[in-house]
Symmetry: D2
Subunit: 347 residues, 4 copies
Amino acid sequence: MRSRTFLLDASLDPRAFAAEVVRAGGDPKPLEEHGRVVAMTAVLDDESTARLERAPGVARVLSAPTPWPKIARRGPGARLVEITVGGAQKDRIVVGDDRPVIIAGPCAVESLEQLEACAKAIAGCGGRLLRGGAYKPRTSPYSFAGHGLTALRLLRQVADRHRMGVVTEVLDPRDVEAVALHADVLQIGARTMSDFALLRAVASVDKPVLLKRSPSATLDDWLHAAEHLANAGARQILLWERGVRGFDDAARNLVDIAAVPLLRMRTDLPVLVDPSHGVGVRRAVLPMAAAAIAAGADGVMVECHPDPGVSRSDGPQALLLSSLPRLFAQVEAIAQAVRPGLDAAAE
Amino acid sequence: MRSRTFLLDASLDPRAFAAEVVRAGGDPKPLEEHGRVVAMTAVLDDESTARLERAPGVARVLSAPTPWPKIARRGPGARLVEITVGGAQKDRIVVGDDRPVIIAGPCAVESLEQLEACAKAIAGCGGRLLRGGAYKPRTSPYSFAGHGLTALRLLRQVADRHRMGVVTEVLDPRDVEAVALHADVLQIGARTMSDFALLRAVASVDKPVLLKRSPSATLDDWLHAAEHLANAGARQILLWERGVRGFDDAARNLVDIAAVPLLRMRTDLPVLVDPSHGVGVRRAVLPMAAAAIAAGADGVMVECHPDPGVSRSDGPQALLLSSLPRLFAQVEAIAQAVRPGLDAAAE
Amino acid sequence: MRSRTFLLDASLDPRAFAAEVVRAGGDPKPLEEHGRVVAMTAVLDDESTARLERAPGVARVLSAPTPWPKIARRGPGARLVEITVGGAQKDRIVVGDDRPVIIAGPCAVESLEQLEACAKAIAGCGGRLLRGGAYKPRTSPYSFAGHGLTALRLLRQVADRHRMGVVTEVLDPRDVEAVALHADVLQIGARTMSDFALLRAVASVDKPVLLKRSPSATLDDWLHAAEHLANAGARQILLWERGVRGFDDAARNLVDIAAVPLLRMRTDLPVLVDPSHGVGVRRAVLPMAAAAIAAGADGVMVECHPDPGVSRSDGPQALLLSSLPRLFAQVEAIAQAVRPGLDAAAE
Amino acid sequence: MRSRTFLLDASLDPRAFAAEVVRAGGDPKPLEEHGRVVAMTAVLDDESTARLERAPGVARVLSAPTPWPKIARRGPGARLVEITVGGAQKDRIVVGDDRPVIIAGPCAVESLEQLEACAKAIAGCGGRLLRGGAYKPRTSPYSFAGHGLTALRLLRQVADRHRMGVVTEVLDPRDVEAVALHADVLQIGARTMSDFALLRAVASVDKPVLLKRSPSATLDDWLHAAEHLANAGARQILLWERGVRGFDDAARNLVDIAAVPLLRMRTDLPVLVDPSHGVGVRRAVLPMAAAAIAAGADGVMVECHPDPGVSRSDGPQALLLSSLPRLFAQVEAIAQAVRPGLDAAAE
């Protein structure tokens, strides 16, 4: 999906060509020379452009350069990411195929008991990936900022017991090595999406990276950050929509579900959605997880807690463990309902 | 869902009460007096508030007034809207029950042939509601602004032939009578959501009203506009999310899917979603329609055209008629997959 | 200011041409053909484009069409609007020359006493234009919506006594005639900026029109609405920035002061700024009025009240009458400090 | 400025108390108990709250806790920051008094010649602070990212020659020491405002810190980041508005000039404005610098270049060196025109 400019022969009715662009999914804008329309501009993918280029009366086609060549869409099937679970068993979890993944766990690792309760409930539903914050970025300097290394060790220990993979955030380039030692997927948070020093440090470790969208990032900004990772050597990148800055405080953020199909047109990287941070309201988590999967997301990430009332961060958005079975069942049911339709739509 | 302030006895540990608020889905904020926490504020529904009010140690509960008393949530089952199809047959179409509705049709009524082709395809899929613009608000004064009265008559004629209801926009208070004569549902557009003179005029006609969200409206602004309608006599109001102003021109607007569950917590009015105007990109329409239904929307509104290439407005977002069967099938499949889960989640 | 595409000869180094575009104030983006840069795109004004067109190595220049031909910038001096004060004396007030205008008055006309006190204070400072709401759009249907025709008559009567012009909003196309009978400037509010039926009705009356920016309008959307007015016959149009929808509730809106210089590059219509609705906080009104004038605005519009505490709308943003002399003095002082610099900058 | 809840005696007419709140600059919202208004909530400063607390009929006053106690407003005169110029001469530059400061220089340090030309022009106008990027965060990984250590040394050498201070950005906690060795003011960029690891590292060096606002930060988010700095030991913090994410691509960002007076009500930290990154358009830089000073900013930061056409970053927004005298003169003239008015307004 790039901007294209089609220079037209005088013989070609510009409206006829514009109709072809619309049929191809573009929104054509005319360009004039001496008061006469002589060209059309539209954002189009490579396939449509190649087809339109061959139409009679098209003299030349100019294209904006690919801004993120390493991660641009090459076609279906190219977007699989394999997560190697770091414990003794060396399992593999695939993201990007027909079965959506569910990453779940507490916002912050608070104790062995809390983490174990979460992991047991998630694993009981078939979940394979455990998230939990060890290093927490917090708006206030007086809020709980995570148990750090201790939390990393708990994550590894509990995840291994349940044959799960560990997903956790790294905040400081100086912590990358320690986090990579314990985690199977390194997460870049929304606040640090464009912290390029951190991105380079994370890319230097050969682990899958989950790149959260900054609340002010366009899709283009976000894909540029992913290209930073790819250019610095990251081979397995997952995108993670968690809502952009909205103007309505009824929700914590404004989840951009349309990012899922729009990214699919631009890149082969898998896309996950986080309805927990996205809305910040417990009762909206299940409906939004369902919406994400229905829109074609490769997975969702949710927060849960044995007792949200005593959670040290983000309790209002944490699911009860008793809601997890419904979440897993619903994601499965929707994935089955929607997948064939999506594939057809992509044709 | 209103702001509540709970004044606490000195005997009550504020943290213990805060935990209860979190368990009830609220995000408690402390209030201090002489450096000591003596109260908690949170946005909560009536049921949770009543329960928390009875907790030991809660001295008083203060509430922000209900800003839109006529449309505030009273509980499940209260949100049904019946659309009486205006032709000879006097059918009824119910919005707000377990089966989502699909409103479809061209952006603008262009000709009998165009409208008939759309209606035939929609009715063939089981669709009962035909949309089409007769009066079109257009950003540029030089764009096609609709065929007006002629289009209204075509809509009625074609809809009657297929036993469908007519949904169309009214822009000018002076046109309300004419539109109401031909249409079964009057639509208020995003540009005029807060045009209160128009809202009063529309409410004076006893027909269902579809109220689109303005691109800069919070849920609260939108519900205030609905209250204007209700206060002026409208008895059947449907809300219609079509995206808010976003900062990323990859999409025409930013569809706020979370509005669906968040509105459900606030009002009994049915909520529909418009993925066509919402994203403005044909290939995103099906995934976003699926997402809306998965999130619990009572229906979707989509634009279609026999040949989007020659559409006089919004061709890039118009579905091909050949995509309609897939849309209807997918909406049906997702509704079945998700409804039981949603009801349970609302408990 | 329109998008231009410069097709370059193979003899021309694209980087050298890009440097020329940057020097002209543009931000050049390359276009490729077969992997080689063969064109540059940038948003530029007519003068710069004509100059660059003559550069050696530029083969062809394509331009996006002018979207609002009737109001597009023609050059300095073209933007004067003359307001004829409607009372017996037939004075003229010029907007758009070197002396900024100050429009002041209460949010809503509440009583003869209130309006007279405001008008006396404003006239005492040299103010010539009195604003006051007769028909008020209000978020809640239960808020005071203005005294209508009675208020219009009071405005005319009080303004005549002080040789002032009347500025007031019209909400309903059916009220245009009555408002035009009493007012010297008709105001289109932010909520109805794109209510094209209203715009046409207002344009049919030969009076100056103040067009407020909608909170979700880009400059382009806003100028399109102004073109609607011009195309329907309005000859004197003033633009009125009042803030767009922001995400921070510390302010009521987010005042886009940069709109002033950016509009100057696009249109000859005068631009005023409303710091009262813009910020919604009394103590920010003076600093923001000063900022608007410093940025080159042709005037400001402020709300004032003899006692904001009893104001029936928007009291928190109303200036005290005792602050008006300071406002007028500061606007005058800044206009003198800044005008020569602005003219030079425009060269 | 914090949220306050005033509990009222039954003897007090809530409307009379609401009027007092409005007079004090607040926007009162009622709270009800059993359908009767018994309390009012408003955002108010300490002085107004103390005054209202003593009003007859006010039973209790509850306050939200101070979220950023270390940087909250204590009163006029408290906001001076002294920058010690790091070279041999040990000069001091004061920010926050009546004379605004102008920080100027190239976006990136490209060469000795480029930097020397800028510094000479700036110093010739009386400028004392030289900015220049050594480590540049860039959206694309393929863009020029700065000359690093070499650039730092050039900055120090050139600044010393002109008795200027050095302001430059630090991106990576591991670079803090090196940057602090050469710079007099360390700058935290918009992308890393909430990179708390970086904030802590910067705070550990005893140098003034310039904290840019993230494009998605509310004033509250931004002040929380400043509190992070203060809590980690930073003693001299300057805030730097550079525009938030807007929805209109006519400007690079949306400069929030109202942040200046609104911050003044909340904190004693000096506030600067960056019209260069803020608008991204050369011709808007002077008007917006003027607006910032008129609104009460303590200074502005602008980018300049001997030849913007060959600038390796952000050329379209760079001022010509020949425009600097006009910028300095205008800032001076506006500061004189506006300062007495601002002080009075603050009363």
